[in-house]
């Protein structure tokens, strides 16, 4: 072809990204040669920006992987009924699994593959972060594709949009809003698990990846207070900065991808509306984010179009998910047949019960605090937009960052039981508040006025109007908090701080001890399996029916 191709930013961006990836890879590879006998990080604050960069790189790699795979799986599930029957149940089970518990297994696997080099640890960390980001993205893609207006999909077919053109013109734009909404959740999750994943211990072996998370964890463990505060400051500044400079402009840009008619899209980006008033954010949106977003869609569409052309390995991927589950079950089985049972196994039911009480308490407290708080927020029309934006930003600060505060409380002498619940609450509470506040804002004005006309005020209003109106969202928030609570148990029933171990009896503590101290894989497997079974059982027998009944009874007719 004689004609000159037009210049494309996507090629430039791709090149820059590639070069960056090679540089980072080389650097990490070099550091990987260092033996891990001295896992201490250099605590000089001047190195913090570098550590932050490492952590961001891990998050970014995991995120890109998660988005790519979410697009592929989501689209596959939406397109093929066969793939759907395999993918959806698998995703559903996997997302209710406490990821942290599986981490030691994953680390063992990756370190085995890479013969103990740091690259293996690095991969394990990225894998952990990936699993915390992936599920909601995949469900989001799937849901927005099956709710695509029928005639629009027909039109795309009739006008011959296939392959990459179908991706760039139809599928990618249609999933952008839900992808973005879920990205906020995914990044918050990612930060949360990043901090847990940069210090990895399997049995007696201990690996430390250089990063913000390991820096923070080390500062807490050793008890260096001003370093802790500094690292926390960097962490909070980064999450807030990303909201202002990345997510805000992206949400403003994504407004064009919403369908007008359907009011049932992911929650309206309130923060975007508040941020949209800022000249800086608008300028960023126009000059950087919008063009980059278009380029990203074009580039991703080309890539995915190539993938779509060879459809067979989409099917292979769909089979891979359930197949790997089967392998895991088989491995577990082998673990128990080959060795005599460990005496600690007998204590697992009681451990489980104790943790269940803590998680349940966390859910109840979250709900009890969220309802009046959301009510107060919804009543004052002046602050609601700003308040919601603040909540959104606060919620994105990883709960692991509150860790040090709890340690301080512990030193003051509050019991470990209370501390564990408090720590779990720092994650669980936001999910509930966020959902309830969103629903509270959505209560139709006419309904409020009607209630006023009927003389419903104060407590009676709360009971007759407010609670029924927010109930479906309350349940959704509680289900999410319930899942997050189990992850929190693994983190907070067993703490190392200031060279001391604080622990309380529970399944999380048992799991942690088996992982970090004794290295007894039987106990690890058994406590994990029992936890997963309990979670799935409760989801199926309690949450699912409750949610269905509430959604039916209290649905707001449009």
């Amino acid at each position: 072809m004689a004609s000159r191709r037009p210049a494309s930013y996507s090629v430039d961006l791709g090149l820059i990204f590639l070069i960056g990836a090679v540089v980072v890879g080389l650097h990490l590879g070099r550091s990987s040669l260092r033996p891990y006998d001295a896992p201490e990080l250099d605590p000089r604050p001047a190195l913090l920006p570098l550590y932050l960069l490492y952590s961001l790189a891990r998050l970014a790699v995991a995120y890109l992987l998660a988005v790519g795979l979410a697009l592929v799986t989501g689209q596959l599930a939406a397109r093929s009924p066969f793939a759907r029957r395999l993918i959806l149940p698998t995703l559903d089970v996997l997302q209710s699994v406490p990821i942290l518990g599986f981490f030691p297994l994953a680390v063992g696997f990756f370190i085995g593959i890479f013969h103990g080099s740091a690259l293996g640890v690095e991969m394990a960390a990225v894998f952990l972060i990936f699993t915390s980001m992936f599920w909601n993205l995949a469900f989001g893609v799937y849901e927005s594709l099956i709710t695509l207006p029928e005639e629009l999909a027909l039109a795309a077919g009739q006008f011959g949009l296939r392959g990459s053109l179908r991706w760039t013109r139809l599928i990618l734009p249609a999933v952008v809003p839900s992808l973005l909404y879920n990205s906020l959740v995914s990044w918050a999750n990612g930060w949360y698990f990043l901090i847990a994943s940069e210090i990895i211990a399997v049995g007696p072996a201990r690996y430390t990846l250089p990063g913000l998370g390991s820096y923070l964890a080390q500062a807490v463990t050793v008890g260096r207070n001003h370093e802790t505060v500094l690292a926390l400051g960097v962490l909070i500044a980064t999450t807030v900065g990303m909201h202002l400079l990345l997510w805000g402009p992206l949400q403003i840009w994504a407004e064009r991808f919403h369908f007008e008619e359907s009011g049932d899209r992911p929650r309206t980006p309130r923060m975007a509306r508040v941020l949209g008033r800022s000249r800086l954010v608008r300028w960023l949106t126009r000059t950087v984010v919008a063009p980059a977003g278009q380029e990203a869609i074009a580039a991703a569409g080309k890539l995915l179009g190539m993938w779509g052309a060879s459809g067979w390995w989409g099917g292979a991927f769909a089979l891979l998910l359930p197949a790997s589950l089967l392998v895991a079950v088989f491995k577990l089985y082998g673990l128990f047949v080959s060795r005599p049972a460990s005496p600690e196994l007998a204590g697992i039911p009681v451990d489980l019960l104790l943790s269940l009480v803590r998680v349940a308490l966390g859910v109840v407290v979250s709900a009890a605090v969220s309802i009046p708080l959301a009510w107060a927020l919804a009543r004052s029309t002046r602050v609601r937009g700003a308040a919601m934006a603040v909540i959104q930003i606060l919620a994105s600060i990883p709960a692991t960052a509150f860790f040090p505060l709890i340690v301080i409380l512990l030193r003051w002498g509050i019991g470990m039981n209370a501390a564990a619940v408090l720590l779990a609450l720092t994650t669980m509470f936001w999910y509930v508040l966020f959902n309830v506040a969103g629903a509270a804002y959505a209560i139709p004005k006419q309904m409020d006025e009607a209630a006023l006309g009927l003389g419903l005020r104060g407590r009676r209003y709360l009971r007759r109007v407010f609670v029924p109106a927010v109930l479906p969202s309350l349940i959704t928030g509680c289900v999410t908090a319930w899942g997050a609570g189990w992850n929190a148990m693994i983190l907070c029933e067993y703490l190392e701080a200031g060279r001391r171990v604080y622990q309380v009896r529970g399944i999380g503590a048992t799991l942690d001890r088996a992982t970090y101290v004794t290295g007894d894989m039987q106990v690890v497997a058994a406590s994990l399996a029992s936890m997963v079974l309990l979670i799935i059982l409760v989801n199926r027998s309690v949450w699912d029916p409750v949610y269905r009944r509430v959604a039916e009874r209290y649905k707001m007719e449009a």
Partner: protein, 257 residues
């Protein structure tokens, strides 16, 4: 305005042979249908809701494969999307994230036209439907009537031999619908527009009588052809208050009842 269909002995453009559509394994919702459409004909399908007229149109456009039977376009059986046809949708089905000009050019893009020609051709049809000035608007900024004009321009821009329209005016207000009906008839008669055969699905008998050369009446459960009426003898333009037009409309209501 002379009907282009009055040119002598036109060949069959479209032929449906024993077309049937099933819902699931057993329930037949449409057919068997045998239907022929001539080159340069304006054919309307009317019938009550549930008679499968939209399904039939989708089969013709190639976005739905019939359970049984063959669709022939210009003699050759249709296997995939009918690239010689283009469709206008009741809900407009515009891409909300594309500006008007990009929406119109979407079909040209998939046919591999280079960007400059794409733009030129899109602009031609935007001008023809009277949308110039709105090229850089997003669909959400347009009134419903304007949106359907975009839908029409998008379909005409690929210069299809057959234009399929699925209740194109039923989501519009009466004033706008009236203007659009006249526009479609003007374009049909205009030498600048390549498309000369139109297949219109409508539930309005008045609309079918006002516009078409021939009307096929469908009945429901399962959808079958009940009757057909040749309107080539009815002079154009057909204003609704003309006695001849009114009489035809009455006759067709009697057929449906």
């Amino acid at each position: 305005m002379a009907s282009p269909a009055s040119v002598a002995a036109p060949a069959a453009l479209l032929r449906l042979e024993g077309v049937e559509q099933f819902y699931g394994q057993k329930i037949r919702i449409l057919g068997p249908i045998d239907l022929e459409m001539r080159e340069a004909e304006f054919l309307s399908l009317v019938g009550p809701s549930g008679c499968g007229k939209s399904t039939l149109l989708r089969i013709v456009a190639g976005v739905l494969t019939p359970t049984v039977g063959t669709v022939r376009m210009g003699g050759r059986p249709l296997k995939d999307v009918n690239t010689r046809a283009a469709m206008v949708f009741q809900s407009f089905a515009l891409f909300p994230w594309l500006k008007v000009v990009d929406n119109v050019a979407v079909g040209l893009e998939s046919r591999g036209l280079p960007p400059r020609e794409r733009l030129k051709k899109a602009q031609k049809y935007i001008d023809l439907v009277g949308l110039s000035g709105y090229e850089r608007a997003y669909p959400r900024e347009l009134s419903r009537g304007m949106k359907q004009l975009v839908g029409l321009a998008r379909a005409l821009a690929v210069e299809p031999e057959l234009l399929c329209m699925d209740e194109p005016f039923s989501a519009l207000d009466v004033l706008t619908a009236r203007t659009m009906r006249e526009l479609v008839l003007d374009l049909w008669a205009s030498p600048v527009v390549m498309t000369k055969s139109i297949l219109l699905v409508t539930h309005s008998i008045e609309e079918a009588v006002a516009m078409s050369d021939r009307v096929v009446v469908l009945k429901a459960n399962p959808g079958r052809i009940a009757d057909e009426v040749d309107l080539r003898g009815l002079p154009r333009p057909r204003r609704p208050d003309l006695p001849q037009v009114r009489e035809t409309v009455d006759r067709m209501y009697a057929l449906l009842a």
